[in-house]
Assembly symmetry: C2
Homo-oligomer: 349 residues x 2
């Protein structure tokens, strides 16, 4: 995405549940942080449960064409118990990741000062997970026969290509190289998932040769979950497949302050399609509309969005603001709106 | 397995690395706990890296025939860096689970008093995971084309059958019903892995109708990892597929005292084939032969073995001994052998 024009044309998808509330704060902070000369245009889309119930649609071809015309997408959360499990996930969230080739699913984990963690001893946590976003067991390849009978057989096919693995591994190496520790860990299960594991391991080792200054290692996914709770400081950058990445990033979020502060980017690095930024948390229908949701994860997702569009100083300002706000937070109970106001004041100040 | 004869015919597989040392302690405690009238016969098998290097074999048909003639199998650990990743795992460990139809992979997690956990606040942890052991992504179904080229495509197929899912789900319900809290959680990812997820969810709900006194719930695997660190007390019994079970049981072991005390059983409930009991930890070649390994996980696996064979009082005595030993352990550094001696003395006393 070029920023020469100094304008941001943003698609906004509040979605379901707390999505509405947290996205409002994200936009508030975004407006506050942008320099006056940057023109921000937003267009809101009504995807999610209400649209689905009203029209039966999750994401139409016309929607995709319109979304494509934006520089980036800010998403709150999609999902509601009134919709059968999987319909919105596969019909909207995953569909968009695939259509817009969001092959880098970027999820940073940083335990900020003053933030509670379930781990004892307040360990140092500062790593990023680069999760593959367009392949693996997420492709919807699979099926069932004799469905609903005692003889049912159901399959799921994990599809992995050298093309798909190499581009995300290369992206992860570049990110590792740009960080002070320059360390990249491949997480897979290559002793059991031998075909996919072989491909991932071979590609990883081949690309490693081009990044001699990056230290590398390998962990089975089961072992990785152990280290995430016993020694999270060992991680700098992790690259992994779509399903393993889904699992370990929720765990990573839990140990580094909870999903209330976990941001993510669904990135198409080539810029051919708009990238989409969203909190890791879901729509939390149980607390929706009560002003209880923490908008920090959405605000941090706005920082990732700005960094992706080339607004590095503004991204850093948001991250400092969230960090300062968390450190000052103590036991005070604030509404979603109050936290948003506080963050907007900090980035503007 | 009938115990009317009051004899145990045990196959012993020390395996690689620390396997040798920990199994020796397991047998020591087993001999000490058994009443005089129970005849214990053991036969040692040399599977693992040395056999593989010497003969190229991991597990032959003749081996399988001989193993079959035992009431149960006690395994230390299999695996060594000198053998390419996956060869012993798939050629021995998984092969045996499949051949002996070990469809219940039982992994209890209990945080015992005095045992360190990476979690703050010493939460209550006492749950068991019933991991499916013969299906899912572990079947070795998959392949690759254009292997080693930039156009490689590698697939892994998760195979799930109504037959396979129902028997393990039924086993888990029965275990939940026998526990005071009577709660069973299904862990899957049915919003993404829709075919397998649909099968698991449907079978789970159908079997639930037969166990009206068991409370049930469902968690996506990513959410389950969050609760394992933020609220492990919420779990009583978990049932899940082979791969999710692999991942969450390592995490469960980590939060409930570490893999030094995590036991497991690869169980064939029908008794058609011998069940196999093993610590969750691996061969730890870095500390092998130094008397540093904690044999507690193996000793607790012996307890699971005894319970499976109908020796409930002896199983309970071992568990109490390990519990008392851990509580009394403090900061003392003891050798593998010393811990084994202490446990043998406790169960005998
Ligand atoms: C909602 C679901 C489809 C999604 C995923 O599995 O990728 C979510 O868990 C996530 O991590 O973004
Ligand atoms: C060694 C490996 C094949 C095995 C598995 O993945 O099942 C191990 O991790 C386990 O959990 O017993």
């Amino acid at each position: 995405m070029s920023v020469s024009s100094r304008s941001i044309n943003l698609a906004v998808i509040p979605g379901d549940g707390i999505g509405q509330e947290v996205v409002a704060q994200g936009l508030k902070v975004l407006s506050a942080v942008l320099p006056q000369d940057v023109k921000l245009e937003t267009r809101e889309f009504d995807f999610g449960a209400r649209r689905y119930h009203a029209t039966g649609e999750t994401l139409t071809d016309a929607d995709v064409t319109e979304l494509k015309q934006h520089d980036a997408i800010l998403l709150g959360a999609i999902g509601d118990p009134s919709v059968p499990s999987g319909v919105l996930e596969r019909g909207f969230l995953l569909k968009l990741r695939f259509l817009f080739d969001h092959y880098v699913n970027l999820r940073p984990s940083r335990l900020l000062p003053g933030v509670a963690t379930p781990l004892a001893g307040q360990p140092e946590i500062d790593f990023i997970v680069v999760r593959e976003g367009t392949e693996g067991p997420y492709t919807g390849n699979g099926g069932s026969i004799r469905t609903g009978t005692p003889h049912e057989v159901a399959t799921e096919v994990s599809v992995n290509t050298a093309f798909g693995v190499e581009r995300v591994v290369r992206d992860a190496f570049a990110r590792a190289q740009a960080r002070p520790r320059k360390k990249l860990t491949l997480v897979h299960k290559n002793n059991v998932l031998a075909y996919a594991g072989h491909l991932w391991t071979n590609v990883f080792n081949a690309v490693a040769a081009e990044f001699p200054d990056v230290t590398t290692d390998y962990l089975h996914v089961d072992a990785a979950t152990i280290f995430l709770v016993t020694d999270p400081a060992r991680f700098d950058v992790i690259v992994t497949d779509n399903l393993f990445g889904d699992i370990i990033t929720d765990l990573a979020a839990a140990v580094s302050g909870g999903i209330g502060v976990a941001a993510s980017g669904n990135i198409n690095p080539s810029g051919e399609f708009p990238s989409m930024f969203e909190p890791v948390h879901g729509s939390a229908p149980d607390i929706a509309g009560q002003g209880k949701a923490d908008p920090s994860a959405t605000v941090l997702s706005v920082a990732l969005l700005l960094r992706h569009l080339g607004y590095e100083p503004e991204a850093a300002r948001i991250e400092s603001a969230v960090s300062a706000d968390l450190a000052a937070r103590g036991d005070s109970v604030r509404t979603t709106d109050e936290i948003g106001d506080a963050l907007a004041a900090r980035v503007a100040g």
